[in-house]
C-alpha cells in the first residue's frame, strides 16, 4: 500500500478525510480515483480538466516531483502539497 499525505487545506472539505491515507494504486491518477470513490468530489479539488493536476497542487512520489501518470510502488510515499503561494 502506498501512503498519501494530503494538504491541511483539503481535509476540512470532506467528512472523515485524514491527513494520511493508504491506497492500493499503480499510479498517482489511480490513487486519486480511489480517494474520489471514498470522498466524492475530492479529485476536483486537486485536478482540472485535461485531466491535469491543478496549477498550485504539487505531487511528489518518493521525494520526486510527479504527475498523474507517475507510477507508484507498493511502499511509495506520496506527498500532495498545496504550493507555497498567495498572501
Amino acid at each position: 500500500m502506498a501512503e498519501l499525505q494530503l494538504p491541511p487545506t483539503l481535509t476540512p472539505l470532506f467528512d472523515g478525510l485524514p491527513r494520511r491515507v493508504e491506497v492500493d494504486a499503480a499510479t498517482v491518477a489511480d490513487a486519486l480515483d480511489e480517494l474520489e470513490e471514498r470522498w466524492p468530489g475530492l479529485r476536483d479539488r486537486l485536478c482540472e480538466p485535461g485531466p491535469a493536476l491543478r496549477q498550485h497542487i504539487h505531487v511528489y512520489v518518493d521525494r520526486e516531483r510527479a504527475e498523474l501518470d507517475t507510477k507508484l510502488e507498493p511502499r511509495s510515499r506520496v506527498h500532495v502539497v498545496a504550493a507555497i503561494s498567495g498572501g
Binding site: L13, P49, H56
Partner: protein, 358 residues
Amino acid sequence: MARTLLLIGTRKGAFVLESEDRRDWTLRGPLCESWPVYHAIHDASSGAMYAAAASEWHGSAVWRSDDLGETWALSSEGIGYGDDDPRKVSKVSSLAARNGRVLVGVEAPGIFQSSDGGETWSLLTTLAGQPGSELWDDPANQPPGHLGISALMLDGDDDARFWAIVQGVGSFETGDGGQTWTPRNKGLRADWPRPHEEVGFCVHRLVRSLSDPARMYQQNHVGVHRSDDGGESWFEITDGLPSEFGFAAAVHPHDRDTFYVIPLDPGHARCMPDGQAAVWRTRDGGEKWEKLTRGLPQQHAHLGVLRAAMAIDRHDTPGLYFGTSTGQLFASADEGDNWTEIADHLPSIWSVEVATVD
C-alpha cells in the same frame, strides 16, 4: 422577530452579520474555510445560503448552508467545460437562486445551473453566437479581474427571464430560461472602439426597481444610465455626480426614482474622490444628485467599493449597506441619511447581500 442578515463575500471567506433592529449587529466568520468568496446570497424560496468561491489551490465551487451559515458544504460536480474544451473555469463569480433553481456565472463566460440545491450542476449556456462571443471565448482575451459572467439578475415574477452581464462586453436578457439571448445595451456610451454595434460596453452593475420593473439603472465604466423600458434602451444620468466611474449601485425597493451610486476616481486608485467617503442619491430618477456623508469618514478615507458590494433591504424605511476593498462595512437604517461603521478589519470585501428572515 424578523432578523436582517448581511452576507459578505471577501477575499478570505464569507461573513454573516445579523441584527434585529439594524443597529446592533453580531458578526460570524470567516466561513467557507476562508476560501475567496466572490458572491454570497440567501435564497428566500429555500432558506439556503450559497457562496461562489474560487481557491487558488483547490479550484472553484459553490458552497451551500442550510442553517443560515452555521455549517457549509461545497460542490463543483458538473461545473466545467470538459477535458477537450480549451475554456477553463477559472472562477465562479456570480449567483442567483429562486424556486428550486440555482444559477452560477463563471469565467470563462458561462452560466451553470443546479436543480438539486447545488449538489450537481450542468452547463446552461455560454451565450454562444452572441456578437462578441468569439472574443470572450478566447481564453487569452479576458479583461482584468477575469469575472466572466460578473452578475446575474432575476425577474421578479417570470422564472424564465433573467439578465446576465458579460464583463467588459455588456448586458444580455433571456426570456426562455437561457436558451436565447438579446443584447440590452442600446444607448450606452463607450469611449473605446467596438467591433460590434450591440456590444462592447462595460456594465459594472445592473439594478431594477421592484416597484416598477420597467425601470432599471446601471453604473457603467463610463457613466450612470437609466432605462424606462426594461433595459431595451438607455440614457445617461451622470450629470451632477463627481465622477462618471464607479462600481456599486442600488435602487430603492419602494420608489423607482430613488437610486444610489458610489462614484470613484476612475484612475488607478478607484477610490472615493478627495479621500471623502460618500454615497450619492437621486430622488428624481437622476435629474439631481445629493451627496450623503453623515457618519462616513471625511478625511483620508481612500475607500473603494466593488460592483457587488452595495445592497439595500426591503424594509418600509430601507437600509443601505456597503463594504470596502479595505474591509470596512457601513450601514444606514434610514435610506442613506445617516451611516455607521458596523464592521472593520475584515478582508477585502467583494460582495454584500441582504436578506430578512424570521
